[in-house]
Amino acid sequence: MKAAHPDALPIAGGTDVMVEINFDRSRPDSVIDLASVAELDDWGPEDGYLRIGAGVTYTRIISELGDRLPGLAMASRTVGSPQIRNRGTVGGNLGSASPAGDAHPPLLASKAVVELASSAGIRRIPARDFYVGPKKNAMRKDELIAAFLIEPSNGPQQFSKVGTRNAMVIAVCSFALTLDAKRKRVGTGIGSAAPTPVTAGEAEAFMQGVLDEGGLWEKRGEIDPSALVRFGDLVAAAARPIDDVRGTAAYRRHALAVLARRTFAWAWDEYRRKSVA
């Protein structure tokens, strides 16, 4: 259907698309209703990953997958309101590809993969390569987002977001952290502070080095506060923020350093307190 109507606008929960239509910012000739495609509502295990249909709502991610995907569930809880979480989907977030989308940082931190479907077949793209510009993704016009694949947590995960209130807020900036205790890896994701959602590769490498050198994964040892500060600075340096109505670039950098430091401290504290299977 998408191949036959490449300009048709896909709509799922409508929480982005309907705003565009209601405000007459876009007037598509045709729309494809994905909310009525039952296959997109399924999720299940696949080769050690969870394959989650693009139509699974934030409400369901929180209630059905919160134990296995704590980082994504935390981010989902900050999306809009109950009404919005009942309709909005991660698939829609990926389709809109707004740098401020709340699902993106945890997808990046957990190295999720996006599954695209077309009449030519299926292709899978790492989330890290999926965001190509502000509100632009790597999807072709004949493709639709079918699902995303993400590994269940192998350690503590965190998400933190700055906004003017707890609900109904677009992120001023946000940060997601995944600790992979199995592979001894650190994953990051930054939202709303660059033209696209981005990772902080240097910060990840730095922290992995600190943890490896000190044998801290095995010892479940304490982290030197100066390492946390350095981690925060490297996360802030990975951002490319702008001044806009929600905040200044300088504020975003400062806030990201704080979020990174705090979320790492919380996650590491959780790792030290309990053994992770």
Binding site: I11, M18, N22, G80, P82, Q83, I84, R87, N166
Partner: protein, 156 residues
């Protein structure tokens, strides 16, 4: 395009619906159900809260065509005839209604909360109603009303 669905238990149809039309527009302008209010048209204010297949949503964000075959309940379907629902009665008694514009959306959202969480804490009420904006009351009386409704519904 023609859209057919159930609203408050009755089968209804709307003809010549424009493809970009919202469920809210159909309810108000084509079916004369003015309880769901039209304010922000972007899902921010909650004034158009309705149930679609039992799920609380903003009617302004549901594309008309997406309502095809669905079961819709609006604020008009909350009361039992002329007998107010306990949530509605509690809003009246607690003084949770001032100008009244946000009230229908808050009634539906509070109704949904109490279906899932019969004895909510104040924090749970705040989170459940975070998507409903009221510009008059300052919310204190609304919180009182939801607590009152919960007490009454628990004792019946």
């Amino acid at each position: 395009m023609k859209v057919t669905f159930t609203v408050n238990g009755q089968r209804v149809s709307a003809d010549e619906v424009w493809e970009g039309e919202s469920l809210l527009y159909i309810l108000r302008e084509r079916l004369g159900l003015y309880g769901s209010k039209n304010a922000c048209e972007q899902g921010e204010c909650g004034s158009c809260s309705v149930y679609v297949d039992g799920t609380l949503v903003c009617a302004c964000l549901v594309l008309g065509g997406q309502a095809q075959g669905r079961d819709i309940v609006t604020v008009e379907g909350i009361a039992d005839g002329h007998a107010l629902h306990p949530v509605q009665q509690a809003f009246v008694e607690a003084g949770a209604v001032q100008c009244g514009f946000c009230t229908p959306g808050l009634i539906v959202a509070a109704h949904d909360l109490l279906r899932h969480t019969p004895e909510p804490t104040t924090v749970e009420i705040r989170e459940a109603l975070a998507g409903n904006i009221c510009r008059c009351t300052g919310y204190a009386k609304i919180l009182d009303a939801v607590h009152l409704a919960a007490e009454r519904m628990a004792s019946t």
